[in-house]
């Protein structure tokens, strides 16, 4: 039995090495010019291709990198699919330890970990989202916070959905009744009800950010209940978008432009453009301000963009109503 044990251990190690080698944690190698390069690291709950939350931030980083002059000016390291907080906390500490200038904890669940890690690395700037809390109240000065005012885009998309719906029934499906998803879903509901009083808006939550199958079933259920306009939040909505396509109903995306998944079904998306915020954080760090600022993405500051799918015709009066909603949100007459 002894040989069995040693063989077993060897195998477990082999499997572990293989799995670790395959684990999608890619760090861009550091370029030659070490002194001038600004090093950003990001820890994310889902993958950089999730068509949603993580992808929006990663593409924002890449946009800023290109504007700053490529990899020689800004280095991006990322760890993805760290939905579990302890794993993410270890990665955050690791990046700070390795001397990254800015470490982004891209998930509201990472907050308490960041509160513990940040004080140990006063020369590193951290960013946490989505949240508005920079921990300054607890004496921490090297954390930025950022949040998307998801309800703003939700309100506008809800307006479009209510005006285009033939059945007067709209289905929304989210992961959990909290955070970014809750903001978006409630904004959408408010927009739909304001645009066309009497519109029925049903909401489901699946309890998971990654259960594609249950998200698809939720979409099926909404359609069976009469919905002809659907929307939802989290990376698992790709399942629901497929159902929308198969059943011939329209889908509204959020966080990232989801048109490419189903060009015949995705009518419009609210896209998060984090690049303005990222640039400001980098500027601040270069000037010696390591945190303390809370940012929000809004229509006004250009962080939120409604992206229409050019393949689907939206009546001019519906687009006008959407534009009016954006104007109302910007001047404060509409509070989504």
């Amino acid at each position: 039995m002894k040989s069995t044990l040693s063989r077993m251990l060897a195998l477990v190690m082999l499997v572990a090495i293989l799995a670790a080698g395959c684990a999608p944690a890619a760090a861009t190698p550091a370029p030659e010019a070490v002194s001038t390069v600004f090093k950003v690291a990001i820890v994310m709950p889902s993958s950089i291709t999730d068509m949603a939350f993580s992808q929006s931030m990663f593409e924002g980083l890449k946009k800023v990198q290109a504007e700053m002059g490529g990899e020689s000016a800004m280095e991006i390291a990322y760890s993805e699919n760290l939905f579990k907080v302890p794993d993410a906390a270890a990665a955050i500490r690791d990046y700070a330890d390795k001397g990254y200038n800015l470490v982004i904890a891209h998930g509201s669940q990472y907050g308490t970990s960041l509160e513990q890690v940040a004080p140990d690395f006063p020369n590193t700037a951290f960013a946490w989202g989505t949240s508005v809390d920079t921990f300054q109240a607890s004496g921490i000065n090297n954390v930025f916070a950022y949040q998307a005012e998801a309800q703003q885009g939700g309100y506008v998309l809800g307006t479009i959905a209510a005006l285009m719906s033939k059945t007067g029934i709209i289905g929304e499906t989210g992961p959990v009744d909290a955070g970014d998803a809750k903001l978006y879903i409630e904004g959408f509901q408010k927009g739909a009800e304001a645009a066309k009083p009497g519109t029925t808006v049903s909401v489901t939550y699946t309890g998971s950010f990654s259960d594609v199958s249950l998200m698809a079933t939720a979409a099926e259920t909404h359609i069976a209940a009469g919905a002809d306009m659907l929307t939802g939040s989290s990376q698992s909505v790709v399942g629901a978008i497929g159902v929308a396509k198969d059943k011939g109903v329209y889908w509204f995306g959020t966080q990232w432009d989801q048109t490419s998944l189903a060009p015949e079904a995705v009518l419009a998306s609210q896209v998060y453009d984090w690049s303005g915020i990222i640039k400001d954080m980098i500027d601040s760090v270069q000037k010696g301000v390591m945190g303390g600022k809370a940012y929000t993405l809004t229509f006004k500051n250009g962080g939120l963009v409604i992206s229409y799918n050019s393949a689907i015709t939206v009546p001019a009066e519906v687009k006008a109503a959407a534009d009016a909603a954006i104007a109302g949100i910007n001047d404060g007459t509409i509070v989504p």
């Binding site: 477990v12 499997v15 489901t204 939720a218 259920t221």
Partner: protein
Amino acid sequence: MDELFKLPVLLGILYSGIRLATPYLFAAVGETFAQRSGVLNLGVEGIMLMGAYSGFYVGMKSGNVWLGLLAAALVGILMGLLMSVISITMQAEQGISGIGLHLFGLGLSSLLFKTTLGSVESINGFKPVRIPILADIPYVGEVLFNHNLLVYAAFLLVPLSAWFLSKTTFGLKIRAVGQNPQAADTLGVNVIAVRYFCVCLGGMLAGIAGASLSIALINLFQENMTNGMGFIAVALVYFGGWKPYGVLAGALLFSFVNAFQLWVQVLGIKIPSDFAIMMPYVLTILALAFATKRAQQPAALTKPFERGEN
């Protein structure tokens, strides 16, 4: 609550429940074979992910979902073979090697997705096949007999497996190997070969379970898209008392309650969504607690076989 018991809602629950149950049936019936032969394979989840990826990739590149299904089955067999070599031939602890297999499948499917696809795309998967006459039955016909072929296959697999395990000589050998491998060995049954067969068959079915998601039900591949289904499938085997019909009952209970709780939310019945989401899990745990028939557990489950040891 009255609105829940209207016909369209009940039919909706039936339709969604059947679809939700499909991947669980493939994976859990496959795992039933492995466990009846004495091997606990906790790597079902990893095999499902590899099956989902390979089915999607081959289906997309070749434009033929049948080739995708074949690829998923073959990859499933290969993953089963890997599990067999580790846990049967090398006699590694089954629980640990299964978890290793899960991590391996999770990592490898993500890596392959990144290098070959890079972004989530959708394909045209298996189309629904309407069964004539049966689908014309009022009300339930459309709900029961207008699904894609993999859904029918998953439900046909149950009686087929039950018959195979209880009525055929080979089924008897499988049960003997899982119950008392030493005795089976004395009677000339090749214990190792039977276990290899069962684990590979389980792997094949887990691969098809993954493909049923990526090329038949959801028609896309996303990293970690199985989201723990493989582990629920292992639990369903215990739930079902190591019998295909028991597995069917468990899979249907779990899926129908899940479909039901979504309707509860859609109809706006005032229950917190967290409670609705919990319902399938709570019910499954309750059913497990009240219906434990441990006596049916294969006696040699998780025990490696070595000739002459007892």
